[in-house]
């Protein structure tokens, strides 16, 4: 039974990280209908930024809690700046181009960012400092739930609540929903749609960077390639839940995380990806719009 609970929590933790990345995919898709394939790279850049900032801060001897908060903040801001710039450089000029063009631009951006980090940093795995200590009060539960899992779950929950509040009740959030639902009309009521798109990229990127920080500290190492697989998984989760739907992205992520965790635990870790992507194929066959997605009815 303990084993089951352990797998359950490790699945939730995975799912939480996927969710932080998947939200960026789904929000951007919701607003401009683009799969931002460079999004996984933002997560990787978030992890690298965290690495640099955390290393520097620990040299200066800041307390751990301060390091974590400042690192998270710096990574979110820096990744947000990347997201903003990527949109302006690679997608905005193609706003009215055929749909395939920005998609290819996104793939190009992804390759560019990977190789940039490869050249600027290293191709080796870098050891990531352990930012989340083992809390004494968690010792009793250590065999089912680690301290960093707990922090990941709590942080993600807090971020989700904040995001939900932002989207549901604030002026910007309503404008984001309005833009996603009807861009022309959003312009006609005076919403600066370009600004909303930028904000969406910045928020999505900041979330991914927080995911990058959390998982890097959890696993303990990073390299330039981590964004690829994480990005693909989170994208899978977003599609699973119904791309464009925010609750869908969270649900899809949790389902994917749990599936992988149980598959790893009860079958074999070699089959982790097989299960993940089989699940995707099954969902796409039986419910092409995803778990919470709406079937798109195209008017002709």
């Amino acid at each position: 039974m303990n084993y089951f609970i352990e797998l359950f929590f490790s699945g939730l933790t995975r799912g939480a990280i996927y969710a932080l990345i998947a939200l960026g995919y789904t929000m951007v898709y919701g607003i401009i209908g683009l799969i931002n394939f460079a999004h996984g790279e933002i997560y990787m850049i978030g992890a690298f930024t965290s690495f640099v900032v955390a290393s520097v801060l620990s040299i200066y001897g800041f307390p751990l809690i301060a390091i974590v908060i400042m690192t998270g903040f710096a990574a979110a801001v820096w990744a947000g700046a990347y997201g903003y710039t990527i949109e302006k450089l690679a997608y905005k000029p193609l706003r009215h181009a055929p749909r395939l063009s920005p998609l290819i631009s996104a793939i190009g951006m992804s390759i560019l960012l990977q190789n940039y980090v490869l050249l600027a940093q290293t191709s080796d795995f870098l050891p990531f400092p352990k930012l989340i200590p083992d809390f004494p009060f968690m010792e009793r539960y250590a065999d089912v739930l680690g301290s960093s899992d707990l922090v990941i779950l709590l942080t993600t929950t807090a971020v989700m609540i904040l995001l939900t509040f932002l989207i549901k009740y604030t002026r910007i959030g309503k404008a984001m929903r309005a833009t996603a639902q009807d861009t022309t009309m959003a312009m006609l009521v005076g919403i600066n749609v370009n600004r909303i798109i930028s904000i969406t990229f910045v928020i999505g990127s900041a979330l991914a960077a927080i995911g990058g920080l959390l998982i890097a500290s959890h696993i303990g190492q990073i390299n330039f390639y981590i964004g690829f697989i994480a990005g693909i998984k989170a994208f899978t989760a977003a599609v699973l839940g119904g791309i464009g739907s925010i609750p869908g992205a969270v649900l899809g992520s949790l389902v994917l995380g749990l599936t992988e965790s149980f598959a790893t635990g009860y079958v074999s870790s070699d089959y982790e990806d097989v299960f993940a992507f089989s699940l995707l194929v099954l969902i796409l066959i039986f419910k092409p719009s995803g778990l919470l997605g709406k079937a798109v009815i195209k008017k002709v």
Binding site: R171, K174, A175, R177, A178, Q181, D182, T184, M185, A186, M187, L188, V189, G190, I191, N192
Partner: protein, 235 residues
Amino acid sequence: MLKLQNVQAGYGNILAIKDVSLEVERGEIVTLIGANGSGKSTLLMAISGIIPCRKGRILFGDREMQGLEPDRIVKMGICQVPEGRHIFPELSVRENLDMGAFLRTDKNGIKEDMDYVYSLFPILAERRNQDGGTLSGGEQQMLALSRALMARPVLLLLDEPSMGLAPLVIKQIFEIIKKINSEYKTTVFLVEQNAHQALHIADRGYVLENGRIALSGSAAGLLENPEVQKAYLGI
């Protein structure tokens, strides 16, 4: 107030508006009638800055508007109710109205105007927490009109408000347009296929044919005009 001088606009290779000059004075209701595909909606989209004005000038007061971003144009007081209503389907009625007031910051004024549109259309007050997409066509048109009013427009651009509605609802909508015009001195530029209704509430009218103004004059004059009667009024 609004002045179009030799405006040319279109989508892609299609030049729907070839050469249009017209004028709307403060406080007037001016209608633009024309058949399907004559370029009416394209013209409104060009005025609102959604599509570029390729040639000519669009003046609001004495300011040139062509090339301005749509949000700047709304800020100047020009609001459009587009064809097909374009309600935000998954925002509630209330949130749709909030979006209409997006650029305003005067909380009290917004509250007042919301009460006002609820008094114009009590059904909207009843359905305030319902998603916009669940409303009937007539209710959606009421909401679209109310949403535009929430911006306290100086100039209201209406694109086929009668489209797809029952005669009784059309009558109600046109009465409200007339009422807004007389009570709030809101200038109205009304684009319609339903020439009969439009000419009855308008002061003046223009007839658009193939992207050009074919006729213009007082609404009463156009109603009497044999060409208009034959082509648009079915007499």
